[in-house]
Amino acid sequence: MSAQPVRYDAVTVTERVHWIGALDPTMRTFDVILKTPNGTTYNAYLVRGSEGVAVIDTVKAERADQFFARLEAVADYREIKVIVLNHLEPDHSGALPELMRRAPQAKLYISDAAQLMLKALLNNNDIDYIPVTTNDSVSLGDCTLRFLNTPYLHWPDTQCTYLVEEGVLFSGDVFGCHYCDEQLFNDRVGDFRFSFEYYYAHIMRPFKSYVLSALELIEPLPVRLIAPTHGPILRDHPQHYIQRYRELSTPRLHLEMDRDIKTMIIFYISSYGNTMHMAEAIRDGAAEVGGFRISLYDLEGGEVEPFIDLVEEADAILVGSPTINGDAVKPVWDLLSSFARINVKGKVAGAFGSYGWTGEAVRMIDDRLRGLKMRVPLGGLRIKLIPGADELKDCHLFGRDIGEFLMGKPRAREIDMSQL
């Protein structure tokens, strides 16, 4: 008995648009960091105009057979005039080289920032392409594709493409999620809201300010359908998803409390109370500067998740840890390793801690904070065992100096590079 060959059909999305992507229901871990319990889809689209066809995005190389079969069901390669890649990550560019081989007459449209990546990803310097940015467009006769430059969602190269006549936004990874349901459309698939939120939290969240910039371009458009590169096609209430991105990306603290007051958070963990006493003296020193809110949190008393929410909206973060076996303790690393999920770049930061023997923790935390591109104005403060009166004074000055730095009035300092 021979198995029936699988037939891959294109799916009609609108009058001019077909979905020609690929289903990947067996995928469980995406890009190392993302879990998905029912797989994902790689969405690619075909747009038919009166004077030619455009292919928008491709799929992962391993699923290229589905993509080409669906494409062939609705178009001939010779009709393809335009190929648009909204994002060059391999799950969307995987089938590009083969597509360009089959449709050599087609012109490739990518964002300005995608140019260098294209060469590095395909290891080919001879690819012909047209770099585009906001307001550039390409005509397919009776319809027009307009480009929106929306960088860092979630790579430097990302852009969106808008089919003007039908109000279709090909949004790349924006508004996407890892959710595989062959019903494809948001009004027919299962409840995928958890996946939409999860995808935003892990992929878009570190780039909130770029999301807001992109929304400035997207919100004025009369979008009737959002066609992302992963997960359901959003044809029912597409504006709802745009609004949700606006909500998720808008800083809440500054809306709900005084918007002009800065926030300093001092996290610590302490085995014998020494690092805690340092934290309190640092807080008192910072409070002397005044003009900003200061919170002191014991890492032992909380979970990483709400702390990360606090860090995201704070302006200065100080972290105190004792040294145990030559290292900062695990709750500190759990916190610091989670900083990568939000944008901490440019926030003021510092480290401190009491130690018994060698005190490596503070320098390690300093390195981590600098590695995250936080601004660490002072080298971390280390105190051997129980802080005495003079040492508590050092803590006080440390807090004061960082407070002044936070408030934009740092004291003049002259140092030698060897001290850094």
Binding site: T133, K373, P410, A412, E414, I415, M417
Partner: protein
């Protein structure tokens, strides 16, 4: 070894460094607002401005010049339709704006006393 003093105006710190030190090796250690990313002269993130002593800094390489001009083009694109377009264009038209006043921290070496700040 010959030394030079480089001042980061935004954080009010003056650092004595061996001649030849790159700005980025110091800026991130004093918490200056100068941002950085690729450290290879490619991305343009570490743009800073020279307030004093430009002649004591290394000359921009062809790579640095190319990145500076690409960066300004991007800024210009970003400002399209923003209203302040004319003011921005005027600013950028200034002779040798990129290269003289604006530099990349990952490329620029200190050869004598200078004062710098984030852009």
């Amino acid at each position: 070894m010959a030394k030079a003093k480089i001042k980061f105006a935004d954080v009010n710190v003056t650092v004595t460094v061996p001649v030849g030190t790159r700005i980025i090796e110091i800026s991130e250690k004093v918490g200056s607002y100068i941002a950085y990313n690729c450290r290879e002269g490619d991305c343009g993130s570490c743009l800073f401005t020279v307030l004093d002593g430009a002649e004591h800094l290394s000359k921009p390489s062809a790579l640095e010049n190319a990145t500076l001009f690409a960066h300004f083009q991007q800024v210009l694109d970003g400002w399209r339709g923003a209203g302040d377009m004319e003011a921005l264009q005027e600013m950028m038209k200034r002779e040798n704006f990129a290269g003289k006043i604006c530099r990349l921290a990952c490329q620029t070496q200190v050869f004598g006393d200078a004062t710098v700040a984030p852009l």
